[in-house]
Structure formats: C-alpha cells, structure tokens
C-alpha cells in the first residue's frame, strides 16, 4: 500500500490557495442530500459539525458526555496561537510555520503546517465574532502573551480558561445549528465501532450510555474528532473519559495509526502525591512567562525554598537555554526536569518535583498583576496542594498531556479508509514529534472551521449516484453483532479485579518504559508485560451489572481493553524508531550534552501502522517527509 499524502502542487505559500481554487465543490442542493457523522464535540468536532451544518450538510454529532460543551478541549488553559502580528514584534505566517516545524523536531508535514499557520489568522476573527471574550488592552485591542518555542507574542487568551471559551464559542455555533434542526445531537452516546461498506466508512455503531442500547448510524462520510490517547498512561492531564476506542476501532478496521510513540509530556503539572490519585492537574505553560524554574544546586538540599540563597539555586532552563530560557519547548523542559530530579536535586515528596518561582515577578509587577494573569491557576494549585504559590514557589513535575500521534490522514484530512476523516488531536498531522504550547486549540479549530469544509468535497463528489446507505445493510448488522459480542464478553469474565487496577498497572508500565526516556530493553520488557497484563485482564476483570443500563464499569472496561491493545503498538513504534526526536527520547540516541539525536537519513518519515489481525505483527508503512522549503536542522534553543 502506498500512503499518498495528496499534497497540492506549487510553492509552499501557494499550495492551500491552489487547492481551494481547484477543489471539488458540492452545490447547495446536493449538500442537503449528504449525511455526515461527526464523532466528538470538542474544538475539532463542534467546529466541524457547526460549520458543515451551516453549509447545508445533514449532520449527526455524537459525544459520550452529557453535553457537547463538556468535551475535554474545555480544560485547555493557556491560549491559542495565531500569526496576527498585532504586537508588531516580527511575527508572520512563515514564522509561525517555521516555529511549529522546528518545535515538532522536523517530523511534521510542511504543507499541512503551513496551511495551519495560514488559517490561524481566520480562527481569531471567527472566535471574536462568536463573542469569545479574549483578553484586551484598555484601548479595546486584543492582547497577547508568549508561549514556549517562540520569540514573539502571538498567543491569544481568555484568562487561564482559553479552551473553555473557545469551546463554548464552537458549542454556541453548534447549539444554533441544533436549534435549527440541521444537526442531530447524540449526547451520552459512545462510538464502539466503525462500519465499512465496500471498503468505505459509511457509519458507526454506538452505545447509548443511559439505556445501554447498541445501535447503528449510517452516513455518507464519518469524521472522527475523538481526541488523543494520553489516558493510556492512566495518570495524565486528560479528563477521565478520554479514550482511544474510536481511533483504535478504526485502526482495527484498516485505518493506519501514525506515530503512536509521539506523546507529549508537559513540564508543568502538579506532582503525583499518592496511588489514590485519578488524574494529574496541569499548571498552564503561560506561567513560565513570569515563573522561573529552579532546583537547589546541592543534592538532597531539604531546606525550605525561601532559605536557599540565590547563588545556591540552579535556574537550569535559563542556564542551558539562554535565548529561550524558561520558555524552552515542552519536551526539552520536561527532560531537563527529569535530569534535575534524576541527579538527586528534585524537591518535595520523593524528590520528584522542581520549583516554579514567582517571587521575582511579584516583586517586579506586584501581586495584583500576577493575580489578574494567573489567579485561577494559583487558586487551583492551593486547593490541590494546600500551599499558596504567592508565598512559596509552586512544585511542579512533568505529566502526560497530549498525543501528537494519531490516525494517518492525507492533506484532505482523510485516512487511508475512503470516507473516514480524522480531525484535531485524533489525527497525526501537524505537530510532528512535539507540539508547541497554544497550538492544539489552533489545530482543532483550523481543522473544523476552515480545512474540512473545503476538503470534504474531494471525497463526497465521488459519492454521487450510489445506492443510499441505510443501517439495514448486512455490514451494519454484522458490525452491531460484533459489538454486542464484545460487550457480552466483558460482562461474562466475572472476575474479581476492578478495571481501574489494570488501567493503573498499564500506566505504570508505560510511564516507566515508554515515558520521558525509552530504551530498547525497556520497550521490549514493556511489550511482554502489556501482553501478560492483557491476558490477566480477560481472565480476572470484574464488570458488575448488565449491558442494558447505565453501567460505568462497562464503559471503562471497554476503554481499558482497547488501551491494553494500543499500549503495545505505542511501544512497538517507539522501539522501531531508533532515534530521538521531540517527545520521543531514546536513551541510546543522544548528543554528548544529552539532547535528542535525530537520524534524518533513516527516520525523516511518518510511521503508519496497519492492523493485520490479533496476535499478528502490524505492518509498517512509511510516508517519507520531504522538506522543500525548510532546511533540516538540529533544533537549538540555546
């Protein structure tokens, strides 16, 4: 199989324009005849569903939450990037493009990233017109802050709740379309499988989480906007419900899974406190605008932070990366924190923490300014830890936050399964091996508002004239039956061990062996351990209750069963990629000063994995990454 990225011809700056000039259009009368399924209602899903409905398509949107507004995009804190250059500080589309490619350690597709930077400007216009209350100056202009991996201020924000406000904007657009009857919203409904008809994605099988009813839904095309798989690690900054099921089921139906080992570990999270913990809480990267990261110079220095004099502190990011300082990209900052702790200089319980200190900023700007900028984050920190960050430095440690890998898509956001489109964090396309801060919101909305409305016609224009797809087709009945069997299988194990126990164990294996530092031996062990854990799961798991009711243990069991399969693929990908790049750090491949060492000759490629059957090795397809506009360089933030 050849993975054709379908990159339009022409110079980089002209590709998207050329594409749009030649794109296949569907006339308004025909749009009404096409039914589109959108799975997920986060930034990508809600924006796509609303925009496609505005254009006239018949849309069915699904979310497992009780409201579309609760999708996990809601929790994004810091901001959204856009190449507006309102600050007159030298920003441009090219610079946002280049920062993103470089931030991703030269492992993303040039054409996709350039398009992302181009449409970033329209996103801000769109959001403002929806009423998103971005932060403003007294004169009424929009204001910006800086984020990691950039030397300009291009991040728009709404306090520490930017994701919430952007999602509520998309949700309001979606609500308007639901009210008009153009979108049928299915809340509390979880996709459990993808239905293929003659090799094309033509529907899904979903379970109503309140009644337990398993039902098919047919459409002319399916859009998966189902987010990332960070919860495979159990502890992450993701919401409890985030899962890999939709994309994993699509993979098992033939969709290629690309770069699963590219996971982002966010440097500034509240450290783990105990084994009862169900999630890790992020402290926005925006804090690094004013906070300084440090550890004591001396090993095992257990004096309270205020008693450690200035000259005995190691502001290691400022020392190692003077030009970016505390705003070094996430992968680099995380690894540096790990190094500091591994060298015995970590702070707090177990030595797994570093300080993020605001005292200099409070002295310079006053407590009020800091409170205005980060008040809700400081409050959240105090609530969880019982400590005030106005009085003593925050303790932070890296945690799993985002996943750059995802289903493989071409330039049109279509996977290798015709008719299956993948948007937002669920696809692999724009962030390479590391995502820069404030770029996830940008990508989710770019895909939903501006990319898919223009690219969907490429597929739909080939779908005129065929027989109408209905759920009466045998393909639907068969898939439905398989889903029922799987649900019954989970219920019939009747073991004694709760689902959470397996999930936590899986998380520990992966954090240890496929986390911030990975080795060949460790990954091989992890694969064996995951296999054994999966076997135990299917013998010992306890899922109480029945299928035809609200059964949260059953929901969780299905998701964890998929994580137990997916985790193995992630390790296999990490094992096969024998280089270090971005968030993927193979200990065997590093420079003398401990930085990631890429091997462009062998690995400047997307690794896309194809399912070949349970118990069989997946097949690896490579999509070579060719760089026409940028020069492959060693990333330096020094």
């Amino acid at each position: 199989m050849i993975l054709d990225a379908k990159i339009p011809a022409g110079p980089l700056e002209q590709k998207w324009t050329n594409f749009k000039n030649n794109a296949k259009l569907i006339n308004p009368a025909n749009k009404r005849k096409f039914n589109v399924i959108v799975v997920g209602s986060g930034l990508a899903g809600a924006s796509a569903a609303a925009t496609l409905a505005e254009l006239g398509y018949q849309v069915d949107c699904f979310c497992f939450q009780d409201s579309a507004r609760r999708a996990h995009s809601i929790a994004a804190q810091g901001g959204i990037n856009a190449a507006k250059n309102y600050q007159n500080d030298g920003d441009s589309v090219w610079r946002l493009f280049y920062d993103t490619i470089k931030g991703g350690d030269f492992r993303a597709r040039e054409a996709n990233v350039y398009r992302l930077a181009e449409v970033s400007r329209n996103i801000i216009d769109e959001c403002v017109s929806q009423g998103v209350p971005f932060a403003r100056e007294y004169g009424g202009e929009l204001t910006n802050r800086s984020f990691g991996g950039a030397q300009v201020s291009r991040t728009f924000y709404a306090r520490g709740q930017t994701g919430q406000q952007l999602l509520l904007g998309a949700y309001s657009a979606l609500s308007a379309q639901i009210g008009l009857g153009r979108v049928q919203m299915h809340e509390h409904t979880e996709m459990l499988d993808l239905v293929l008809v003659n090799g094309h994605a033509k529907g899904i099988v979903a379970r109503n989480l309140i009644t337990g009813e398993i039902k098919s839904h047919a459409a002319d095309t399916v859009l998966l906007c189902t987010g990332g798989y960070g919860n495979v690690f159990y502890l992450s900054t993701n919401a409890r419900g985030c899962n890999v099921t939709a994309t994993w089921r699509a993979y098992k139906r033939g969709a290629a899974f690309a770069n699963p080992c590219y996971t982002q570990i966010h440097p500034t999270c509240i450290p783990v406190a105990g084994d009862y913990q169900s999630k890790l809480t992020l402290m926005s990267e925006s804090l690094r605008n004013d906070g300084r990261v440090w550890v004591p110079k001396k090993q095992g220095d257990d004096r309270p932070p205020q008693d450690i004099p200035e000259e005995e502190r190691d502001y290691y990011l400022e020392r190692k990366y003077p030009s970016y300082g505390n705003l070094a990209p996430r992968d680099i900052s995380s690894r540096s924190a790990k190094e500091a702790c591994d060298s015995g200089r970590g702070v707090g319980p177990g030595g797994l923490g570093v300080y993020l200190d605001f005292s200099a900023a409070i002295q310079r700007l006053g407590r009020n300014t800091i409170e205005e900028r980060y008040g809700n984050l400081f409050e959240m920190y105090e609530n969880i830890t019982g400590e005030s960050a106005y009085e003593r430095p925050m303790r932070i440690y890296p945690a799993i936050h985002y996943t750059m890998g995802g289903l493989w898509v071409d330039y049109n956001l279509m996977s290798n399964i015709p008719g299956l489109h993948v948007l937002g964090e669920a696809n692999f396309s724009d962030h390479g091996a590391n995502r820069l801060g404030a770029s996830a919101l940008m990508q989710g909305l770019a895909d939903g508002y501006f990319v898919i409305p223009n690219t969907l016609g490429e597929y739909l224009s080939t779908q005129f004239g065929g027989p109408k797809i209905t759920t009466d087709l045998p393909e639907f009945k068969k898939t439905e039956e398989e889903v029922r069997e799987r649900v019954n299988k989970l219920l019939s194990v009747k073991g004694t061990v709760p689902v959470d126990t397996f999930h936590r164990e899986l998380g520990l294996i992966l954090w240890d062996k496929c986390g911030m530092a990975r080795t060949e031996a460790g990954l091989k062990e992890a694969i064996a351990e995951i296999k054994a854990l999966r076997e135990r799961f299917w013998k010992e798991v306890c899922v109480p209750g029945v299928g035809a009711e609200l059964n949260q243990s059953l929901e969780r069991a299905g998701r964890v069963a998929d994580f137990l399969e997916f985790g193995e693929l992630m390790c296999l990908d990490a094992l096969t990629r024998e280089e270090s790049c971005g968030g993927h750090f193979r200990v065997e491949h590093q420079t003398p000063d401990g930085e990631a060492l890429r091997h462009d000759d062998k690995f400047a490629a997307v690794f896309a994995w194809l399912y070949k059957g349970d118990g069989k090795d997946p097949e690896l397809e490579r999509e070579p990454l060719s760089y026409e506009a940028v020069h492959l360089a060693t990333r330096s933030y020094k």
Binding site: Q65, S175, K279, M380, P544, E549
Partner: protein, 252 residues
C-alpha cells in the same frame, strides 16, 4: 481517615431512591472527594456489590460534569466544583451526606447521575451569536474596552453544571441564563440579537419548568465559577426590553 457516607442510591429514573449507609475507610486527607468515591467503588466491586454511579470528567473544575450535593450543598463546600473538594476539609469519622442535584427539571437517571438536557434546550433557543464561519471581519476591527471584556468574561466563566438551579428554592435557572445573556449582550457582537436572545432563553427556561428568581442568592453562593447574581439583573432588564419590544411591535 474514615467516613460514614449516607449516599443516595436509585436504580433508575422510574424507581424510588433512598439513602444508604456506606463506609469509606483508610482515606488520605490529600485525596479528592471523587477519588474517595473511586476508592469506595473499587471496594464495592471487589466485594461483589454494585458501585455508585456518579459522573465526572475533567476533575479540575472546568467541564461542569459533577452533579453532587455534599451535605446539602450543591458542588460541596468551598469554591469550585465537587471534584475540587478535598478530604482534608472533613473531620475524621464524620458522617457525609451525598445526593444528586435536586430540581424538577433535572430528573435523576441513576444514583448521583442527573439529566441536565433542559440546559441544552435553553442554549439552543438563543445562547449564541448568529454568524457564519468565514464571514468574520478582522478581529482587531472590533474594539472592546477592557472593563467590558472583563465583565463579559466573568459571566462567560459559567461551567453549565446546574448547581444554581439545584441550590435555588424555586429551582430557578436564572443564574445560568443570566450568565449567557450577560456574556453575549455586553459585547458589541451580541447587540443585533440582544433582546431576542433574552426573550427566547427566558421562554425556553419557563418551558422547561424552572422557577423564577426571588432574590435568595443561593445560586451565587454555590456557583463553582463565581458568577455574580448581578447577571440576573441584567437578564431581567434585557428580558423586559425584549418583551416590550415584541408587544409594541418594535424592531428588535
């Protein structure tokens, strides 16, 4: 720490529920309230009993999925949602009452899970600015003074959890509706539909069976997003303008 929980158990929407006693043992003070419930649930599962159904998602106070009433207070003690309540706030050995939101328009689905789709229908009636993707002017073309943007943001912070209606003796949803109307009606972009929005959302709210505000301010006291009850005053003003405007046949 150990706690005696008095928990609302209800099999389904159409069966009666009741409080049941369940013990929570060996709980660390740094544990969150929901993590305490996780621990209890895993113990119940291991003992072959049915776990307690309760909803949560982000567990950082922003998604609004939590729907618990702890010791009579929707979203529990302190600021923030129920997921932001930590066990160090309780005394060792304390009896804690846990029940779902109580409001006629939020029917109970199971144990602590309620149906809040009434809020969705209110939003669909007018909780938006009608605009078409792609047709927006440059963001810098719209100037909004900082105090206005800040006030709009204060209202927009609503997480849509429903604690306001659950706390109100009238089961009024006016804090929720007022928050959205204030957010959008304060902004220049929201002006063209301002009156219509207030009218449509209040009518939808009435249709869902929520009561009206009689100044108890219980909503403001429990709101995890600290939305001020002044949004209800703004809602009332805009609603009256909307009704009068319609009654006299004026152009909205």
């Amino acid at each position: 720490m150990n706690f005696h929980l008095r928990l609302w158990r209800q099999k389904s929407a159409d069966t009666p529920g009741r409080f049941e006693g369940i013990e929570a043992t060996n709980i660390t003070p740094d544990c969150s309230f929901l993590e305490m419930l996780d621990i209890v649930n895993n113990r119940l599962i291991t003992d072959g009993e049915e776990p307690i159904a309760f909803e949560s998602d982000c567990r950082e106070g922003i998604c609004g999925t939590c729907s618990l009433v702890i010791n009579g207070v929707p979203q529990g003690p302190g600021r923030g949602a129920a997921c932001q309540v930590y066990m160090r706030k309780f005394k060792d050995g304390e009896t804690i009452f846990v029940e779902p939101f109580r409001a006629g328009s939020f029917p109970i689905l199971k144990d602590l899970v309620v149906n809040r789709s009434a809020y969705e229908r209110i939003m669909r009636a007018g909780g938006f600015i009608t605009e078409h993707t792609g047709g927006a002017p440059d963001a810098s073309a719209i100037l909004i003074p900082k105090p206005v943007a800040d006030k709009a943001m204060d209202a927009a912070a609503c997480i849509g959890c429903g604690a306001c209606a659950a706390a109100c003796p009238n089961s009024s949803a006016m804090l929720f509706v007022g928050a959205k109307v204030t957010h959008l009606n304060l902004l220049p972009q929201g002006q063209p539909e301002a009156k219509k929005r207030a009218r449509a959302m209040v009518r939808a709210m009435d249709e869902e069976g929520f009561g009206n505000c009689s100044n108890y301010y219980a909503c403001e006291a429990v709101c995890p997003a600290s939305v001020s009850a002044s949004v209800i005053a703004k809602l009332n003003r805009d609603y009256i303008k909307g009704e009068v405007s319609e009654a006299v046949g004026a152009i909205d």
